[in-house]
């Protein structure tokens, strides 16, 4: 049941995409809290809040649809990569990361979602799916543009941003 030709599947993908984005931002915020990086923690918490808002919007779209959604297992979703495209990459996080890095991570995630919806809009033969995919794609584009402006407010960190005078190196 592909999001390309089944509206229920498409909406299930949209809901889970935002849900997983929010979950990932919460995880990243928690990791920053544990590692005493409050500035980036706050930023990731804010991003999680936005994703939760978008999730609620996707749920509202889904609720308007008669006929319900398919209950897909995690491995039955058809994502372009290993996980849903708006999930910020865990491996891009670092305990010393700056707001600049956090926003870059978020931008990459938004662009992943934008590419996902754009790809569906250009490939589907279902009019309702195309219209929704175009709408979501336009929203993701707005988010990406907003993030680019936000990033511009922060200076690019120096090359040695991850230098740690007391690093977690082998002690044996």
């Amino acid at each position: 049941m592909s999001p390309l030709n089944d509206l229920g599947s498409f909406l299930a993908h949209a809901v889970v995409l935002e849900d997983e984005a929010a979950t990932r931002y919460r995880e990243l915020a928690d990791a920053m809290a544990v590692h005493n990086n409050p500035e980036v923690e706050e930023l990731f918490a804010k991003m999680a809040g936005y994703s939760e808002m978008h999730r609620a919007e996707a749920v509202a779209h889904a609720e308007q649809r008669a006929g319900g959604l398919p209950d897909l297992k995690p491995w039955e979703f058809e994502w372009p990569g290993d996980e849903s495209p708006e999930s910020g990459r865990l491996e891009s996080s670092h305990y010393l990361m700056t707001p600049f890095h956090a926003l870059e991570l978020a931008l990459e995630a938004e662009e992943g979602a934008l590419a996902f919806y754009s790809s569906i809009a250009s490939r589907t033969h279902d009019r309702a799916i195309r219209e929704l995919a175009e709408e979501f794609s336009a929203e993701e584009k707005q988010h990406a543009e907003a993030l680019k402006k936000w990033i511009a407010q922060y200076p690019e960190p120096p090359e040695n941003w991850d230098d740690d005078l007391d690093p977690p190196v082998p002690i044996d």
Binding site: V15, A31, F77, D82, L90, P170
Partner: protein, 281 residues
């Protein structure tokens, strides 16, 4: 209150399987992906936290029970499997999942691993393998390559070939053997779900990068590839492992056999037990 849509999509309930504790893992640790996959598998199987038991030993990855809403036991180093086996045979109605790392499971608990494979109690064993002792700050583990020089304890490498967990599991009689990657949480969830549903001992080696002491493992993302085709033919499984580069994922071997489930003995009161131990009356 959840909407009808939220109630219907079971994957959205994965958060029900997470606890309120914030993981203390390093930012970017592969174990975050394992926790995600595990909770997704639990949601997909529509398990109930009160019927789940997570048993672990010691190490970074062994902290995982605390981050779930299941019952959990953080036991002695290397002893997750005997604890889990005892629980699985005494409470067969529970879903028992043992977790840990490569040091805990293959070194300190190596002997238990062998016998858990051959004993075949009904439990899953998820080993988050990063080929390093992370919690003690980066020493070579049983699965570390012989030429890894990242630790001052082995400045010229250990010189010893790394242990091959899948080959050992197969030789020791494990009826379900798989490998997965933490950065592919949905595929990992599928394999974990299959392991949980398997009737018997299900072993999953999870490649889970240590971003702090083995940052080069970030490159695993490019090396991991699908390839194992499930078989119940032991010789075919050994042949597949002979061709394996250590990064092949999937279910390698699935050959159900009668699981270890001793008859429950009648319970006795403490006085009867005391009498049995009396040397002379």
């Amino acid at each position: 209150m959840n909407s009808a849509v939220e109630e219907h999509i079971t994957i959205l309930k994965h958060k029900d399987f997470k606890s309120d504790y914030k993981p203390v893992w390093c930012a970017g640790c592969g174990d975050f992906g394992v926790l995600n996959a595990l909770t997704k598998a639990m949601a997909a199987l529509e398990l109930k936290p009160e019927n789940l038991a997570m048993i672990a030993g010691i190490g970074c990855s062994s902290r995982i029970p605390a981050y779930t809403s299941a019952y959990g036991f953080h036991g002695v180093h290397g002893r997750a499997l005997p604890l889990a086996t005892g629980l699985a045979v005494s409470r067969p109605e529970l879903t028992v999942i043992a977790t840990g790392g490569d040091g805990d499971g293959f070194s300190i608990g190596g002997n238990h691993f062998l016998h858990a494979c051959r004993r075949n109690a009904n439990l899953s064993y998820l080993v988050m393998d990063n080929a390093v002792y992370g919690m003690t700050k980066g020493q070579a583990s049983p699965t570390t390559a012989c030429d890894w020089t990242g630790s001052k304890l082995s400045p010229q490498g250990t010189g010893q070939p790394p242990l091959q967990p899948l080959e050992i599991a197969l030789a020791a009689g494990a009826p379900f053997i798989a490998r997965a990657f933490s950065n592919s949480p949905n595929e990992l969830a599928r394999i974990v779900a299959e392991a949980i549903e398997f009737e018997g001992f299900a072993f999953v080696q999870i490649l889970s990068p240590c971003i702090t002491f083995r940052p080069e493992q970030l490159g695993w993302k490019k090396r991991v590839h699908e390839g194992f085709e499930p078989t119940d033919d032991r010789a075919a499984a050994f042949a597949a492992l002979a061709e394996d580069d250590g990064f092949t994922t999937g279910v390698l071997y699935r050959a159900p056999r009668p699981r270890y489930q001793p008859e429950r003995r009648e319970s006795v009161d403490i006085e009867t037990i005391q009498k049995r131990f009396e040397v002379c009356s």
